[in-house]
Symmetry: none
Subunit: 207 residues, 4 copies
């Protein structure tokens, strides 16, 4: 009886995912994503296997293979569905403060144990799967890139920043060191680092 309702809800929750001819079972879909996230937290990226996801989700393996191309694809959807990032774009009036705030929030996520590990696993896999790479960028990178660009452009508009900066480069110079430290673990990801980094970058772009 609750079936119509179930489908309706699903449609509402993720209306974008489907050509809609597939008649996909949304209960299974969600169960798989949930199971993936749980296992990620319990065992870490490398220990997860599709069989475990399937059995935890109460789902046949085929149902996973039908809709995703790999473990990494499942986990990416799981993460992005759970929306690690609905990046707020702070607007304090100071580029420095805006950036520190956005980085501070990012560090909070990344230093959660399993997240860093999961990101590293995804990154490794994305080396070999171009379509995975592109969705990773879309879901994990671009949102921040855009938020950061907005902050910088507001800074330029306010006359706080030089208008001729190469924003692509600036943004890479902000996030590069962060991912670098996340993966290589040769330095901390904490608020002092955020501030130092932002200060240094601003040296190069301030008006």
């Amino acid at each position: 009886m609750s079936q119509l309702l179930e489908n309706k809800i699903t449609q509402t929750i993720s209306p974008n995912t489907v050509p809609l001819k597939r008649r996909r079972n949304e209960r299974s879909h969600q169960a798989i994503l949930t199971a993936a996230v749980e296992l990620l937290q319990e065992k870490g990226y490398r220990e997860i296997c599709i069989e475990a996801i399937a059995s935890r989700a109460g789902v046949g393996k085929q149902t996973i293979y039908r809709w995703w191309s790999s473990k990494a694809a499942v986990i990416m959807e799981a993460y992005s569905a759970r929306a690690i990032q609905n990046i707020p774009t702070p607007d304090t009036g100071s580029v420095k403060q805006d950036l520190c705030q956005i980085l501070s929030q990012l560090f909070a996520v990344l230093t959660t144990t399993t997240t860093g590990e999961a990101i590293a696993g995804l990154i490794a896999e994305l080396q070999m799967d171009a379509s995975l790479a592109s969705s990773f960028r879309k879901q994990f990178i671009e949102c921040r890139t855009e938020a950061t660009r907005t902050i910088l452009e507001r800074g330029i508009a306010r006359g706080e920043l030089r208008p001729d900066s190469n924003l692509e480069l600036v943004i890479d110079t902000i996030y590069g060191p962060i991912w670098y430290r996340l993966l290589l673990k040769h330095g901390t990801l904490d608020d002092p680092f955020a501030e130092e980094l932002v200060n240094f970058i601003i040296l190069g772009i301030q008006a």
Copy 2:
């Protein structure tokens, strides 16, 4: 025939790898490293398995497990033995030119197809193996860090650069964007990028 020579060279190149009391068969040792490199080039990091290395090297699996802790450890030794990095430390008199030169050389290595992929695989694995992480940093990161620090310190000594810069941070800001682009493939790693990057960094540290 050339075996004595071969052994000598090997010992010299990586004298640190072996406790040296156990009577290790150097022919096997080399065969394993060679096989690993070949397979890396033919199939890529993810496709390699220890059984393949063993069989290609004409070696028992046990011989690999006896001397290395994991696939990643073999591959790291294979790469470092083949010395990706004997980093020269250029000294042109200009920090900018020195840095551009060192980065240019790095890009040449990294854009070799299999190398980038292998690095990504190693990075993924070192998330889960602290000792691996530490040798990776030693062999792939520190040599460049040191070369770069030397260049920067020479710049400071010459009065070209501000003496109060946080060099750790500066170096992360140079290499961070590079590894970031290597792994995420959202931007190129070429000489114009090197120059732009170096220019931007120098803005923040010049005297």
Copy 3:
């Protein structure tokens, strides 16, 4: 266009199969049987699966499950619909010649490659399904048993054969060796064998 005709023929050939109140699609019915026979010839009994029959027939799996209890049931109907056996009962005046003739015709069918294999597959399956066993006997065995019994009884009536023979036993002694050789392949099924066999049997029952 030829559909009405097609339906009529079908109805006539196997009028017994359907409760007839349910509105069964005769086109599908025939397509399934045809697909089954084709697959049987192309791939052999063991390689056939219901999904393949359904897809070859352009039919939903459910349609097969609705009307048959198992793969074996489909195949039995397919075979019997195609009427391997409309056994003629020869009457040459000589028991020996009658029997030789009937066996000769049987051998012709059995030595068709796929038929023997199909029979063996059915036999294996009917070990586990009593109702299947009973229809197999009805469709593949009894027709011959009866024809043979008729021949033997005519021989008795003519005084050619002893009247006190156990005809059940005699018939088993005729057909047993045939199925035995079909399944075990340790001897041929050809006309000389038919004659030898008939001769030998007759030794035990002639007047």
Copy 4:
């Protein structure tokens, strides 16, 4: 400590099976055969799967695939190792009594529930695997054929039977009806049947 002993015993038990280079683990070998027989008795031929045999035997699936080509091959070895047939060749002085005795013993085995079913399964599979067929004949058929031929030849030697009979044919006429009834279940396999059958056959071959 008991390992040498274990190997020795094994060698003694089945010295014929191996080119002897394989260094096969005899404990596993036996465990697999035992598990197969147990499962056969508990669940029947069709319900058995290789995974179940492996897990019951405490053995990896690969170990089964390494040494046998199929489920049927395992089961055949299991059965023949357990020697369904060390056919004694009775010698009572009367062909009729000898044959009745040998058949009576055979019926006892065949009417054991699982055995008949297993035989039927093997027979079905042997339609598609010539090498399996040949070992089936060797292990299940020839031993009886030979015993029976011996009995018949003794009868001929004693002058009890006609010397010009086609013994192949006679033997098929004895065993054919038996396998036929085993598989088709249209008649009993009991001592009265044995006697009737033997009596009928003898009619055709007595001196």
